[in-house]
Each structure stands twice: as C-alpha cells, then as structure tokens.
Amino acid sequence: MTLEAIAQRVDARGLSCPLPIVRTAIAIKPLASGALVEVLATDPGSTKDFVAWAKTTGNELVESTVEEGVYRFLLRRK
C-alpha cells in the first residue's frame, strides 16, 4: 500500500471492456506528472489491459490487486 494521496478515483465497476481503460485514460490526462489514480473495475480482462496500457502509454502501474471480483489498479501519471 502506498500512503501518497490519490489525486483521482475512477469507479469503472460494472463497465465492460474497454471502458475501464477509456475512462482512466480520460481521467489521467489533465493530471500533473506523478499524480496517482486509483481505478476499480470488474471487467475480467482489465488486469491484462492495464498492464498493456501502462506499458504502451508510459504511465506506471504501481499496484494491481483483486479482491472478491473487484480489480483495483493504482497508476502513476507519466
């Protein structure tokens, strides 16, 4: 767990692919470099999608966890 403040939260629970990524990409855009974004999702493809998205866009996937069918991603803006 990180103790840094989360700048933006994206609740993508119930949204199907690729909306968790799309909502996140829109939410992270206006933030300052280094800002943290927390995403909650239920789309089962999101674990692989967030790894690929972070790798391609240069944003950092700080944490990726799953609990009771809810995926949680912590991302740091490039």
Binding site: G14, L15, S16, C17, P18, L19, I21, V22, R23, T24, A25, I26, K29, A52, W53, T56, T57
Partner: protein, 137 residues
Amino acid sequence: MDQPISLVLFSGTDDKLQSAAVMTAGAAAVGRPVHIFLQYWALDAFRRDRIARDHGLSPEAGPAGHAAVEALAAAGQEPWHATLRLAKELGEVEIQACSLSMDLLEISPDDLDPLVDGIEGVTSFWMAAAEGPVVFI
C-alpha cells in the same frame, strides 16, 4: 509515429457497430490513430435521426445472442455511438463517410450525426491508411 489503424465499417447492425466502437476506443486509449470509413449500412446507421435507434443484430446472433446483448444493455453497457464519442474525446479518431455510399443512400452531409467528420472517396481512404492495418467490419 504509429501507422493509423483503418476500419471499414460496412455492416449497420448494433453488434458489429459495438465491436467497431470497442476496437476504436481501445486503440485510442493506447494512442493509436484510428481512421474510420463508413460504407453502406454502417453509414445509414450514422444518420443523425437514426443513430440512437435499434439497428438489430447480425443473423448469427440467434435468440440466445439477442438475449445476451439485451442483458448487457440492461446492465448499463453504453451504446456504440456513446463509446465512439468517448473514443473521439480521448484520441485521434477520424470518421469519414464513403462518398459512393452517400450517393447510393441519398444522404446529404446535413443528415449525418456530428460524429462524422467529413466525406471522402476510396482513394483518400487508401492514402490515409498508408502501411497500417485495415479491418473490415
């Protein structure tokens, strides 16, 4: 620079348009430019007075497919045109209407939803596609 991904949308049923919208939004999210060329029944679905209508499903959907798609919509899945609007907000997504299909269906530019950026011919489409992949849906 990344080569654009070019999508030719031919079919005008909601399942195929949803598929295209998902592919487009995913590409936009990873920063790939997307160029969409609307032909025939797909173009017809982009008329401003018809875009939000029920456009049906492909024949292969069957009764079970219809039920599954309806369940997803009832669970709040965004319609394909809303996903395309998001994709345009997010990335470099250009949507062009095929000029031949405009003539065939007797559509004037004012009839089209604002999602459509313009009208082009097939030569312009291939020039824009350059060496990038082309997907036909």
